[in-house]
C-alpha cells in the first residue's frame, strides 16, 4: 500500500470512528437484534403450548431450536437490514460530498493519483465495515445469552465467524453500489436518494416482484383444504414437517414458486446473504443436532458468495472507470 493511500485510509477511518452516523448504525443493529430476538423468542414460546385452535403441540424440541432460530434468524435478519445501510452510509457521500464541499479540489491538487484516492476510500470502508460487522456480531452473543440463555458451541462459534464473510460482503456490495452512485453525483443528498431507492428496490421491491412473476407464470395455487398444517410452523420457517404434510399438487406448486422466485432473487444481495448464512446453520436432518459440513455448504452455496462478490467487483470497477477516466486527468 502506498503512503498516499495509507494517509487517506487513516483519515477516513478516524473520521468515521468519530462520527455519530457510524456508531448510530451499530446501536441500531443492537436495538433491532433485541427486537427481532424478542419477536422470534415469543414465537418459540408459543410452540411450547398447543397452537390456539389447532390442538396440536409443537413437533420440534424448543430448546434445540433456540440457537438456530435466535442466532440465525435474529442475526441474519438484523444484519441483512443494517449491513446495507452501513454500506450506503459509508458510500453515498464518499465522492459526492467531497465534490459538494470542494475538499476534493484540495486533495486532487496534491501529487496523488485519482485511483489512489479511491483505493484509500475503499480500503477504509472495508476496515470500517469489518469492525462494525465484527462488533455487531460479537454483541449479539452476550445479548442472546443474557436474554434467552443461548449457549454457543465451538462449532456454532466457528460458523458464526464464517458468517462474518457474507455479512462483510453484503455491506461491501451496497458500499460499492453507493460509491458508484456517489462518483456519478455532484450532490450527496441526490446520491443518498438514489442509494435509498436502490436499497428499497433490492430489499422490498425485488422479492415482491419475484412472487408476482411466479404467480403470473403459475397462476393461483390449486384450491386444496389444508387441515393439518400449523400456521405457526410456517411463520418460523420449520418447513420440514410442513412440507411432508402438503398434498402433492400443492407441494409441486410451491416447489415451482420457489424455483421461479429463487431465479429472480439470484440478483438480490440480501437474499444471497440470507440464504448462505442460513445454509451455514442447516442441520443434516431434523432428527440430528449436527450441522451440514462446511465443504458441502460451500460446494452448493458458493454462488451466493459469488453474487455478493460480483456486486462488489462490478460496482467498484465502474467507480474506478468513471472517477479516474471519465473527464479528468489521472
Amino acid at each position: 500500500m502506498s503512503e498516499k493511500v495509507a494517509v487517506i485510509v487513516r483519515k477516513e477511518v478516524l473520521e468515521n470512528l468519530k462520527s455519530l452516523r457510524y456508531w448510530g448504525l451499530i446501536v441500531l443493529f443492537v436495538l433491532l437484534f433485541v427486537a427481532i430476538s424478542a419477536a422470534i423468542g415469543s414465537a418459540i414460546q408459543g410452540l411450547e403450548a398447543p397452537a390456539p385452535g389447532r390442538g396440536r403441540p409443537a413437533t420440534r424440541d424448543v430448546a434445540e431450536l433456540r440457537l438456530i432460530v435466535l442466532f440465525v434468524g435474529s442475526l441474519s435478519s438484523t444484519m441483512s437490514f443494517v449491513a446495507p445501510l452501513l454500506g450506503i452510509a459509508l458510500g453515498f457521500s464518499a465522492i459526492a460530498a467531497e465534490r459538494e464541499k470542494g475538499t476534493i479540489r484540495l486533495v486532487l491538487a496534491r501529487p496523488v493519483y485519482r485511483d489512489q484516492v479511491l483505493n484509500g476510500k475503499i480500503l477504509a470502508a472495508t476496515i470500517l465495515i469489518a469492525i462494525a460487522v465484527f462488533v455487531s456480531t460479537a454483541l449479539s452473543l452476550p445479548i442472546s445469552a443474557t436474554l434467552y440463555g443461548v449457549t454457543v458451541t465451538a462449532d456454532d462459534l466457528s460458523r458464526l465467524m464464517l458468517s462474518l464473510i457474507p455479512s462483510i460482503l453484503l455491506a461491501l456490495a451496497y458500499y460499492a453500489l453507493s460509491l458508484f452512485i456517489s462518483v456519478l453525483s455532484d450532490r450527496s443528498s441526490r446520491a443518498l436518494l438514489y442509494c435509498i431507492l436502490a436499497w428499497i428496490f433490492l430489499t422490498f421491491v425485488l422479492p415482491i416482484a419475484a412472487s408476482m412473476i411466479a404467480l403470473s407464470v403459475l397462476g393461483p395455487p390449486p384450491a386444496i383444504a389444508l387441515n393439518r398444517t400449523s400456521a405457526t410452523d410456517v411463520e418460523i420457517g420449520v418447513t420440514v414437517t410442513v412440507a411432508d404434510q402438503l398434498p402433492p399438487q400443492l407441494e409441486d406448486y410451491y416447489r415451482k414458486v420457489g424455483e421461479i422466485t429463487s431465479s429472480v432473487l439470484i440478483i438480490s444481495p440480501n437474499d444471497r446473504y440470507f440464504t448462505f448464512v442460513n445454509a451455514l446453520f442447516t442441520r443434516r436432518s431434523p432428527q440430528t443436532t449436527s450441522y451440514v459440513d462446511l465443504g458441502s455448504i460451500i460446494a452448493t452455496r458458493w454462488v451466493d458468495l459469488a453474487v455478493l462478490a460480483a456486486y462488489v467487483a462490478v460496482f467498484t470497477l465502474l467507480s474506478y472507470i468513471f472517477f479516474v477516466q471519465r473527464q479528468e486527468v489521472r
Binding site: E3, K4, V7, I8, K11, E15, K18, K101, G102, T103, R105, L106, V107, L108, A109, R110, P111, V112, Y113, Q327, E328, V329, R330
Partner: protein, 314 residues
C-alpha cells in the same frame, strides 16, 4: 524569456444537452518565471477552467499547456509536486482542526512527518492563524477559511503558486497581509499566478498580467507593454504640475499637434494626446516655472476596462 507557465491554443469545450460551450478558446498564455502575474477577467471568462487544466484537475479538449516545462496532461503529477494551488470553491474537512487539515494535505504532498510539523507552524504563523491551529474549521469565518486555504498552498514551499480569487472574503487586514506575503515570495524568486476580477485588491502588486475574455487571452505582458496598446487606442496622458496659473502655457499646450484635451485642476494640468508628445512637452514647459512633468501610466483598472469594456479587440 523563460516561462513558468505556457499554453498554446488551449481549448476546453463543455458539452451538454444545450450544445457546446467553449470555456477556453485557443488561449495562449505565457507567464515568465519569477513574476507576480495577474490573470484578469470577469466571472465566466475561463480563468478557473484554465487553472484547473494547468494543475491537472481537468483535461483540455485541444491545445497544450506546460508548467515548469511539464506537460499538463502527461506529467500532471510532476506539476502538482511543484505547484501550490488555491482553487476556487475549495472546502476543508470541517470537523477537523486547521492543523489536522494541513497535516492531512501536507502528507498527501509527501512532506516528511518531522518537517511537516514545522512547516504547518510556519504557514499558520504566516497567515495569522497560529492561535486557531487547534480550532475546528467549522468554527471559522470566510476570511479565516481563505487564510487557511492560502496556508495549504504555501505548505510544500512550491516554486509556482496558482491562486484563484485569493482575496475573496479577506478583510482589509487580511488583504494587506496577502499582498505583503506575495511581494515577499516573488522577491524570493517564486512565480505567482493570481486569477481575479478584484483588481483593486491585488492588481497594483502585479508586474505582469493577461486579460482573458470569453475564453481567449486578449492581451498580456508587463504593465508597460499593456499600457502601450492602451495608449495607442485611447491616447497618451501627461500631468504638468505648475506653481501658478499659467494661461500662456495652457494656450501653448492646446496648440501642440496631437493634443486632444487640456484641463487644469488646482496646480495640475492634464494633457491628453493622440500621440506621444513628451519631447514637445519638454520643449514647451522648459520655458515656464514647472515643478514636474510626467506621463501618467494607465492603472490596472483602466486597462481592465479597456481590455474588457469593448475598447480592445472588438
Amino acid at each position: 524569456m523563460e516561462y513558468a507557465i505556457e499554453t498554446e491554443n488551449l481549448t476546453k469545450i463543455y458539452r451538454d444537452r444545450a450544445g457546446e460551450v467553449a470555456a477556453l478558446d485557443s488561449a495562449n498564455l505565457r507567464v515568465p518565471k519569477g513574476v507576480l502575474f495577474g490573470l484578469f477577467g470577469p466571472n465566466g471568462a475561463g480563468k478557473t477552467t484554465l487553472i484547473s487544466i494547468l494543475v491537472g484537475l481537468q483535461l483540455p479538449t485541444r491545445g497544450t499547456a506546460r508548467v515548469l516545462g511539464f506537460d499538463c496532461v502527461k506529467q500532471s503529477l510532476e506539476i502538482r509536486k511543484r505547484v501550490g494551488l488555491l482553487p476556487e470553491n475549495y472546502g476543508f474537512y470541517e470537523h477537523m482542526t486547521a492543523y489536522e487539515n494541513l497535516e492531512f494535505l501536507g502528507r498527501l504532498d509527501g512532506i516528511p512527518r518531522g518537517e511537516l510539523r514545522r512547516r504547518i507552524d510556519e504557514v499558520l504563523e504566516l497567515v495569522g492563524l497560529k492561535e486557531w491551529a487547534n480550532a475546528k474549521v467549522k468554527t471559522f469565518s470566510r476570511g479565516m477559511n481563505q487564510r487557511l486555504a492560502l496556508a495549504q498552498a504555501l505548505l510544500k514551499d512550491p516554486e509556482v503558486f496558482i491562486l484563484d480569487e485569493p482575496t475573496l472574503g479577506l478583510d482589509p487586514q487580511g488583504s494587506a497581509m496577502f499582498r505583503e506575503l506575495m511581494t515577499r515570495l516573488v522577491k524570493e524568486g517564486r512565480t505567482i499566478l493570481i486569477s481575479t476580477h478584484l483588481l483593486h485588491e491585488v492588481g497594483f502588486i502585479c508586474s505582469h498580467a493577461a486579460f482573458i475574455r470569453k475564453g481567449r487571452i486578449v492581451a498580456q505582458g508587463n504593465l508597460e507593454e499593456l499600457a502601450k496598446q492602451y495608449r495607442e487606442a485611447r491616447g497618451y496622458s501627461y500631468e504638468v504640475v505648475v506653481q501658478e496659473r499659467p494661461e500662456d502655457l495652457l494656450r501653448e499646450l492646446r496648440q501642440l499637434e496631437g493634443v486632444v484635451e487640456v484641463g487644469l485642476e488646482n496646480n495640475t494640468i492634464r494633457v491628453r494626446a493622440s500621440r506621444d508628445i513628451m519631447r514637445e512637452l519638454l520643449g514647451v514647459t522648459g520655458r515656464y516655472q514647472v515643478r514636474s512633468l510626467r506621463e501618467r501610466a494607465p492603472t490596472w483598472d483602466e486597462l481592465y476596462q479597456f481590455y474588457h469594456g469593448g475598447g480592445w479587440g472588438e
